[in-house]
Point group: C3
Chain length 266, copies 3
C-alpha cells in the first residue's frame, strides 16, 4: 500500500477543509496542541466547561480529550462533550496522560476509554489501561513501545478502539492488524506536551480520514517526518519545538512521500 | 494627523512608565499575552481568583478580560475586578473569544460588554455581540472584517465602547468615527492566541493614552508593524511567533513611523 | 571551594538520575517550567488535584509549589502534596509569586513557607514574607536584591529554610551563611515565568544535592550561565527564551566551570 501517498492525502484534506478540532486538554498542552493544529491547517478550540462543551461539540469535526492536569470540574465537561460526540458519531481521541501514576487518573482514563475512537499514549499508559501494571515515571514512559505491543492489542479489543503507542517506533493497533511507524527524533522527549500535541493531530486526521487505523498512523507518520526535518536545524529542545511547527506548516508532497515509513506488523 | 508619531509616543510611554496590566485571560493566551506585554515594556499580571481580583485591580493601570477558556469560577473574579475598575475609572478591555459559538459565552460576553472601554474581537465575535448571528468557526472568524463594520458601530454605540475588529485590515470604531489599520501578516492566523495577545497590548496602550480610539488603533498598528517585521525572517508559524516578540521588543521610531498605516474611514 | 565543579556535579547527577519533579505551579509557568526541567534532563509532572497530589508525591523526588495563579481549589492540592513531602522527607520548593500584592497571596505564602526547604522569590516577595512591606509592582519586583538581604536572612531563620532572592545578583541565605551568584541577563526580566522556571530547577537540584544552600545556589548559577550563553545570539525576548532552553540542554563542563560565579558573602 502507498502509505506515503495516503498520508499526504490526509494532510491535504486537513489544509483544504480546516476541520474544527475541539480539545479538552491539559494546561501544559494547550499552547502546543493549538499551534500544531494551526500549523497543519486545522482549526483548534479549547473549551472545557460543562455549561458549553456539549453545545460546542455539535459544531466540531473531532473531539480530543486529554487528562493531563485532571480535576473533577473538568471531568463533567469531558463527559458532556463525549456524550454529544457519541450521539453524533463524531470521532473521539483519548490521551490517558499519566494513567497508572495515580489511582484517580487510571480510573478516569478507564471510564472514558470505551468512548474513544483512538487512544494515544506512551507505553506505560497503555499498559496501565490494559491492567498490565505499567506504572510510568511521573507522566513519562518507563517502558519502551515494544513491551506494550500486547497491551495495545488488548486495549484495542477491550474498548473497540484503535490504540497508538508512541515512542521510538510507534505502534498502532486495531486489535487485529497493527502498523509500525518509524520517524521522529529523540528531542521530542525533551519538549513538554509533544505527545499531547500528537493526540491533537490524530483528532485532525480523524476528521478527514474515516478509517481510524489509517488516521492514527498518518498522524504519527506526519509528525515523525516533521520532527526529522526539525532536528536537522535544531540546536536543542527550544529551537526544535519552533522548527517542528515550521516543519508541519511547510510539509510538501515529496517530503511526505519520501519520509513516511509505515510498515505492516508481521 | 500624524498617526505614526502618535503610535510611537504611545509605545515610548509604555516603555517609560511600565504600566501594570491585570489580565484575567484564558489558559491558552496567558503565555503569549504576558510575553507580548513584557516585550513592549509593560508589566503583566495574571490573577483571577475572586478572593483577590478586586484588591489587585486597585494597583493596576488597565484590566484585560478574556473569556477564552471560560468557566463559572472565573466569571466571579472577572466581575469583581471589573467593578473595581469601573469604580476607579481604570480602562477595561474585553476580548469576547468565541462569542456566538455557544449560548453560554454569548451571554457572558454580553453581560460584560457594558463595562468595557474597548472590545477587541474578530468579525464573527463582534457580529455575535451585535446580535447579527456571526457564528464563528469554533473560535476563529468565519467572516471577514468588512462584513462586521456595521456590527462594530452598533456594538460601539450600544455599549458606549470603542470596538476593534481585527483581521486582514483592522477596523476600530467608537460608533461615530472609525479608522482602518493595515499591516500584519497572514501568519498571525497560524499562531494561537495572537488575537488575545493583541487585546493585552490594547490594555497597555489604554494605560498611557487616554483616548480609547487612539489607544486601540495604536495597539493594532504597532502589532501590525511588528508582525510585518517578523514575517521577513520567519520560516513558518513557530519562528514567526518568536520573531514577533523580538520585533515588538526592538521597534524603533523610524520603523514605527514608516510602518504605521492608519486611515480615517470615509 | 570549587563551586564550578560542584555545580557541574549537580547538573551531571540530574542528567544521570532524571529526578521526577512534581510541580504544582501556575498556568503561565507550566510550559516553561516543564521545558526547563526536560532541557536539563529531569522529569517534570504537573498534577494539582487534591484527589491525587498526595499519592503522586509518593513517587516524586522533589516538590515545587508556586502560587502564581492561585485559587482555593489548588491550595488543597498543595497542602496534601506538602504533607506527603514532609512525611517522606522529600524537599519542597516554595515560589511565593506576588506575595505582598494581595492579602490572600501573602496569607497563603506565609502558611506554606514553614514547610519549604527552599523559598525562591524576587526581592519584593521575600520582603513581604518577612513582613517588611515589600509590595511588588504586580508580580514583578519593585525592589533590588540588595535591599532584601536582611529580609532573606530573617525569612530563612523564621521558617528554617534556605531563601534565594533572585534578580541582578542572586542572594542565597540559610540564615547564617550566604552566597552571591552573578550571571544571568537582563532579558530574563522580559520572559514571563523565567523566575518560576528557576524555582523548578531548584527542585531538580534539591533532588540530587542534599545541602539546600548548595542546591539553590547551583540552580541559580547554572541558570545564569545558560542565560549568558543565550544572550549571545538572542535578538530579543522571543529568541532568548528559545536559546535559554537550548543552552540549558547543551551546558558542558568547561562552560559551567568557567561561567559559575558563586561568592561567599563577607
Amino acid at each position: 500500500m502507498d502509505h506515503g501517498g495516503a498520508a499526504w492525502r490526509t494532510l491535504s484534506r486537513i489544509r483544504e477543509r480546516r476541520p474544527l478540532v475541539h480539545n479538552i486538554t491539559n494546561y501544559v498542552a494547550m499552547d502546543l496542541s493549538a499551534n500544531v493544529l494551526l500549523a497543519v491547517g486545522a482549526s483548534p478550540a479549547m473549551i472545557h466547561a460543562v455549561q458549553e462543551t456539549a453545545e460546542f461539540a455539535l459544531a466540531a469535526d473531532a473531539l480530543v480529550v486529554n487528562i493531563g492536569t485532571l480535576s473533577d470540574g473538568w471531568v463533567g465537561g469531558m463527559r458532556a462533550a463525549i456524550d454529544q460526540a457519541v450521539h453524533r458519531g463524531m470521532p473521539v481521541v483519548l490521551d490517558p496522560v499519566g494513567a497508572g501514576a495515580t489511582a484517580y487518573r487510571t480510573q478516569v482514563a478507564t471510564r472514558l476509554a470505551p468512548f474513544a475512537t483512538v487512544v494515544r499514549g506512551n507505553a506505560s499508559e497503555i499498559m496501565a489501561l490494559a491492567g498490565a501494571g505499567g506504572r510510568p515515571q511521573g507522566v513519562e514512559a518507563a517502558h519502551d513501545v515494544t513491551s506494550a505491543h500486547g497491551a495495545a492489542a488488548d486495549v484495542a479489543r477491550r474498548f473497540e478502539a484503535v490504540v497508538a503507542v508512541t515512542g521510538g517506533v510507534d505502534y498502532v493497533s486495531d486489535g487485529e492488524q497493527a502498523l509500525h511507524i518509524s520517524g521522529g527524533d529523540a528531542l521530542l522527549t525533551r519538549v513538554t506536551a509533544a505527545g499531547c500535541a500528537l493526540s491533537a493531530l490524530v483528532g485532525a486526521c480523524l476528521a478527514v480520514e474515516a478509517v481510524p487505523l489509517a488516521a492514527a498512523s498518518h498522524a504519527c507518520a506526519l509528525y515523525g517526518v516533521a520532527a526529522q526535518q526539525a532536528a536537522r536545524t535544531a540546536q536543542g529542545p527550544g529551537s526544535f519545538r519552533v522548527a517542528l511547527l515550521d516543519a508541519l506548516y511547510s510539509l510538501d508532497e515529496p517530503t511526505v512521500r519520501a519520509g513516511v515509513d509505515i510498515q505492516r506488523s508481521a
